[in-house]
Point group: C2
Chain length 113, copies 2
DNA sequence: TCCATAATTCGTTTATACCCGAATTATCGA
DNA sequence: TCGATAATTCGGGTATAAACGAATTATGGA
C-alpha cells in the first residue's frame, strides 16, 4: 500500500458511522451482516448507510455479496492488514525499543478463553 | 481509546500532508524534526503546516517541544499504539485464524540488520 | 404477472475542511 | 533595544463531504 491508498482507507474510517460499521463487520467475521441489519443496528437511514458502505468498499476495507434480496457485507481483513502494515512500516528503524509496544498489539487479538 | 477519539485520530491521518508528516516523525524517532524543516521537506507553507501539526497534536499522535526559535515535533508512539489497538480490538473473537495475519505486523517493525 | 421487500442512485441543501495572505507572537544575536 | 528568524493565529474565499427525500433497480413469492 502507498500513501494515497492509505489516505483513502483512513478517510473511509474517519467517520463515526463508518468506523462503527467497520468494527461491527470486523467482529462479525466472514459471515458478515446484511445492509438492512447494519442500518437498523446503528440507526442510520438505508440510503445514507449505502453511501457509507460504498466508501468503505472503495477503500478496500469491506466486501459484499448478494444473498437473495439482501446484500451481505463483511470485513476485508487483507485490506485491514495492509493499512495497519502501512502505518507501522519502518516505525522504528534502529530503535527496537520503540517498536516493542506495537508488537504487543496482537494481544488484543485473541479468542475469548 | 473509544470511538470518538479514534475518529479524531483517523481524521487527523486522513490527509496526504498530515499522513506524510506523521510518517516522517514516526521514522525520525524521539529526536523529532523542527516545524520549518518539515515544511521545507514536504513543500508546504509554514502556516498551513502549523494547522496540520495542531490537528495531529490534538489527536494525540504527535508532541512538540520548543528549542530556541524552533519548535520540534515528534511522534507520540503511545497515541499511535492506542489507535492501532482500538482498530484490532476483538477483531476475531472465536476465530484465531483470521487474527493470525495481524500478528505478523510486527515483522514490518524491525531494525534494519 | 404483480406486489412487497431490500438496497441503491439521484438531486439538493447545509455544514465543514482546506488553503492562502496578512498580521502577530516568541526567541536569539548584535 | 532593535532587527531577523521561526512559528502561529486570524480572516475570508472556495471546494468538498454529509445527510435527506424521492425515485429507481433487483429479487422473491403469491
Amino acid at each position: 500500500m502507498r500513501l494515497p491508498e492509505a489516505v483513502d482507507s483512513l478517510s473511509a474510517l474517519a467517520h463515526a458511522h463508518r468506523l462503527a460499521v467497520f468494527r461491527l463487520l470486523v467482529r462479525a467475521g466472514a459471515d458478515g451482516i446484511a445492509a438492512g441489519e447494519i442500518a437498523r443496528e446503528l440507526g442510520v437511514l438505508p440510503n445514507t448507510l449505502s453511501s457509507h458502505l460504498t466508501i468503505l468498499g472503495h477503500a478496500g476495507l469491506i466486501r459484499s455479496r448478494r444473498d437473495g434480496r439482501s446484500v451481505i457485507y463483511s470485513a476485508d481483513y487483507e485490506g485491514m492488514r495492509a493499512l495497519l502494515g502501512f502505518l507501522v512500516a519502518d516505525c522504528c528503524a534502529g530503535r527496537p525499543e520503540i517498536c516493542a509496544p506495537m508488537l504487543e498489539l496482537g494481544q488484543s487479538c485473541r479468542a475469548p478463553e
